[in-house]
Amino acid sequence: MKKNILYILIASLFSSCFQDTIKPDILKDYTPKLVVNSLIAADESISIEITNSVASIDSAFPNLIKNAQVTIKSGAVEIKPTYSDITETYVSPQTFAAGDILEVRVSHPDYPNVASTLRIPSDVNPTGTLIENGGIDTGGLVGDLIQVNFNDPSNELNYYRLKVSYFNETVGVWVPFVFPKSDPSLAEYNSFALNDFSILFSDELFDGQNKTFSTVTPSGIVSRNTGDKYRVELTSISRDFFEYYRSIQRATDAKELTFQGSYNNAVVIHTNILNGLGIIATESGKEIVLK
């Protein structure tokens, strides 16, 4: 009798729960867009990838767009990068300098025209020093101390990318390693690491200061090197660069969670492409090789 009551109650409750599938209009009426991705660095040639977006309910995947019209204008200079089958991007040997303002326009008959206006940030001219056996590494052994120093421009929000590599002489490649976020200026909310071991951060916690970041390398990793030992890349990056990768990281974290239809796990990927998607990130800076 007890069991019957239990079953009746549970059955009546569950019989009130229903499920169906829907196809909301906002998904059916989707208009594909141009997706523009590029990293434009000061004094380096141009390479822009252009793809399209597709509806989320579409089983197709985004494709490369090879016949778009791309125009980049900066002051009196106007260039039209062309598609390269080798790189599968639109390329141009033209370079731009730190501080230049660029207007990028992309058009294609099948998609709405897109545009972006961006500025290549100023270089902060960092300096780097290496003190051999100058510190204790995380394993408690003596390691090399690397320091990078720069002056942060005051009264403006600046963003940076920091990446440190060591040179593996045996195979002749630079190998990046994790730069620990132990500096108090690298808080959880204003800094994050990328998959390529770069750290992106803002100057919220050291605005206008002369700043030095330090790290001690693992003991002995370049002890047999005869020439180059370490490479430090500290570049000024655009706010869009920072926001884009921060949103990508957030989206990656959110994907690990089950969709619930709420915006806690829906992340709007930052874009600076008007009427389109993607990012044209800019940066300027130096590679400092420490011997």
Binding site: P24, P62, A251
Partner: protein, 763 residues
């Protein structure tokens, strides 16, 4: 403190300076409902005062033998000689055909206990037959339930954590059972419910959307023992109330789920169980010197336990048992002493404790005949908050046209944002260990509030309440001082119409991070910090109320709210991780809400109820999430709610219904997909909360039959929730069939035809 002392000193000096006769009392109708705004006058003098929201008055007058005149529209005038040292109950009788109902002084104020004179709320259609104060409140304009089926409260575009729910003056930090399905209150443990939806007296603070004040039964119009036994699909409940009219009261209300008791005890202990209970005990008495002493206690708990075994070994000799236990509980206790220092001067001194604790335990045990011990691991995650408050609230009758409220309120809150304990024991090759990470101890914050407010009757038709609340907040060695102006004017117009205008500022030094649905025990309370700033809300409101004919009354409210420093979880996975700093997983932004609410109520006759319509908009802006404004998750621009009840005193039957129709709930759906700079596929969201589901529509009914049998009143109540079968989504879930983001399917779950039943015996 210095400010507080100055006010106190000024009042005492003024008290001595104006040593006239003072009398106190309360004006009630024949049903002992208080009547407010009754004119109380000493004849042939300018000694005039008016009753307040609770029907109470204090009159300063000259002659001991004066017959005080009580006048109120559509009510017989009363003349009474009042003893100057006594508290007098004055009864006024409305004239035949009068409309005694009106909404009250304060903008946004609605008080169920005083204003709804029919017995409708007990018989309102309830989900699963469980009488629920939250679901009563959800039927008001501007109060939304949030997710379908839940017993949550979203008031005028605010989050759930912006509601301060007080039970006999003590805040409660999770007022939900069953992950948000039901409230934690036995319906008989609440006699009066009031809600301030924006404009609130300076006495109340700490939350920015609403103050919900729940008061248990403390007096009634007869002495004796009264009880009620109730059985619903969720709970069996008992209420006992022994009240000696005007002397003392003792009430106890308790509920416990009973379905789990149908399972064998062995199953409950070893395999699965789910049970809830709540208990409310209240005691109070009036002392010989007319002072009052009140004690209140409340305890609630939810427990869910599931264990499964896996005999992965082919021989079947090794068995691994996995268990998960989720618990949460509230513990509230308070004592309040109401003292009358003089005829002009009274105070309430109270001390309260409110603790909320939640835990999630995962454990694993291995039964292997080859091992003597039982290797086991246990992971326990604990969260909670403790609030210890002390309050000293005073009211001083300065003059007939000035009543000053002032006081000091201190709340020390202790936060356990997350503590993780990992225990390993009994493994033959691994040493036993116990590791604790996250918060080892509760971390304290302190809010000290001082307030003063003057209720100033400028003239017979104008009342002005103006005051200031200041709060000193301390956490982690930092301290902040904020000021909160509180002002509202009430204008009594011709035909007894009322116009009200108000402005308030509220600061909130506590937030609840939502890691799931509102009401979920996983949500964690966190303090404002140097980095995560306190929520600041400015509220502007205007209201107009009038009576319509003999039976109806109507009101319209318009409001605007500006919110700053709203806290939102931006990284669900990390925010719930006790090892990480929660501050790195939240973002702060701004919000805006505005709207207009219409309310038409009928409180007389066989058929009673109300119709409300709200036009409301609520947006959010979190620059770290999205560059532009987007709609708040529970933004519903249009919402029409109708509650009706038919009661014929000559019939055993009673009928009730709720009908709600309005804008659908918002969800966020990915509209497209594209390649990012690294070549990975990403989902495209044009904005957050970009999809509004179908029109929300719900029709619920209730039928009650009351039958006296053997000296007991028995009632059967039957309910049906969403009897039209409208597909109001519980959730909208976009699911891709593969990790490659192909074949998107949008699933919608909804509730329909949910039956409910309650059996009640009253004695």
């Amino acid at each position: 403190m210095r400010y507080f002392a100055m006010v106190l000193f000024s009042c005492l000096v003024a008290n001595a300076a104006f040593a006239q006769r003072v009398t106190r009392g309360i004006v009630l109708d024949q049903n002992e409902n208080p009547i407010h705004n009754v004119k109380v006058q000493e004849p042939s003098t300018q000694n005039i005062t008016y009753t307040n929201d609770n029907g109470e008055f204090i009159l300063t007058y000259y002659e001991q033998d004066s017959k005080i005149i009580f006048t109120y529209p559509q009510t017989d005038t009363v003349r009474l000689p009042l003893r100057y040292d006594a508290f007098t109950k004055v009864f006024m009788r409305p004239r035949e055909g009068s409309n005694e109902y009106h909404l009250g002084y304060r903008a946004g104020f609605l008080d169920f206990g005083n204003k709804n004179k029919n017995k409708n709320l007990e018989n309102m259609p309830y989900f699963l037959g469980e009488s629920d104060v939250n679901r009563q409140l959800q039927m008001l304009p501007g109060v939304e339930q949030g997710n379908e089926g839940y017993s949550n409260l979203y008031v005028r575009g605010g989050n759930v954590d912006q509601n301060l729910m007080l039970y006999n003056g003590t805040p409660i930090y999770n007022f939900n059972h069953i992950f948000g399905i039901s409230s934690t209150f036995h319906h008989k443990s609440i006699k009066n419910t009031s809600i301030y939806r924006g404009i609130a007296p300076a006495k109340f603070g700490g939350r920015s959307s609403s103050i919900i004040n729940l008061e248990s039964e403390k007096d009634r119009d007869f002495s004796g023992l009264e009880g009620e036994f109730e059985m619903t699909p969720l709970n069996a409940g008992l209420y006992l109330g022994n009240i000696k009219k005007g002397i003392s009261y003792f009430t106890i209300a308790a509920r416990r789920s009973w379905i789990d008791l149908l399972l064998p005890q062995e199953v409950r202990q070893n395999s699965q169980t789910a049970n809830i209970y709540d208990l409310q005990v209240n005691y109070g008495r009036i002392l010989k010197n007319k002072d009052k002493l009140d004690f209140s206690f409340m305890n609630t708990r939810d427990l869910y336990f599931l264990s499964v075994s896996d005999d992965g070994d082919t021989s079947g000799s090794v068995v691994t048992r996995f268990g998960i236990t989720q618990k949460w509980s509230n513990l509230l206790a308070s004592v309040k002493y109401t003292n009358y220092v003089s005829k002009r001067f009274s105070g309430e001194q109270s001390l309260y404790y409110s603790g909320y604790k939640t835990s999630l335990e995962l454990d694993q045990e291995i039964y292997d005949p080859s091992i003597i011990s039982v290797p086991n691991t246990q992971q326990l995650q604990e969260r909670g908050i403790r609030d210890i408050g002390i309050q000293s609230n005073w009211v001083y009758h300065w003059k007939n046209d000035h009543n000053i409220s002032f006081g000091m309120q201190n709340s020390t809150k202790l936060f356990l944002v997350g503590r993780l304990t990992n225990v390993v024991a009994g493994y033959p090759t691994v040493a036993d260990s116990k590791e604790v990470s996250g918060d080892i101890k509760y971390r304290p914050s302190n809010e000290l509030a001082l307030y003063a407010e003057d209720a100033f009757r400028l003239n017979p038709n104008t009342k002005l309440d103006y005051g200031l609340r200041s709060v000193v907040y301390q956490f982690d060695g930092n301290s902040t001082v904020v000021l909160e102006p509180r002002i509202h004017g009430t204008f009594f117009l011709a035909n007894r119409d009322v116009l009200k205008l108000g402005y308030n500022r509220h600061n909130q030094f506590i937030s609840q991070l939502s890691l799931g649905n509102a009401g979920s025990p996983q949500n964690l309370w966190v303090p404002a910090t140097e980095q995560i700033l306190p929520l600041k809300v400015d509220v502007l409101e205007a209201a107009y109320e009038r009576k319509l004919g003999d039976d109806y009354s109507a009101g319209i409210n318009v409001y605007f709210k500006q919110m700053e420093n709203i806290t939102l979880v931006s990284n669900l996975a990390d925010a719930g991780n006790a090892d990480l700093d929660w501050q790195a997983s939240v973002v702060q932004g701004t919000g805006r809400a505005y709207g207009a609410e219409l309310f038409l109520q009928r409180s007389k006759g066989f058929f009673t109820g109300w119709i409300s319509y709200a036009y409301s908009r609520s947006t959010r802006n979190f620059p770290d999430l999205f560059d532009e404004d987007f709609n708040f998750s529970f933004d519903r621009p249009h919402m029409l709610k109708i509650y009706g009840n038919y009661t014929d005193k000559n019939s055993q039957f009673n009928f009730g219904f709720n009908y709600i129709v309005g804008s659908g709930q918002l969800f966020t759906l990915p509209i497209g997909k594209f390649r990012d700079q690294s070549g990975n596929l990403q989902l495209e969201y044009n904005t957050l909360n970009n999809y509004r589901s179908n029109v929300y529509q719900r029709f619920d009914i209730s039928v009650m039959r009351a039958k006296p049998t053997g000296g007991l009143d028995q009632e059967w109540r039957f309910y049906l929730y969403n009897m039209l079968g409208s597909r109001n989504p519980l959730n909208i879930s976009p699911d891709f069939e593969s990790a490659g983001l192909s074949n998107l399917v949008i699933n919608r779950a909804y509730l329909a035809f949910v039956p409910g039943v309650a059996y009640i015996v009253k004695f």
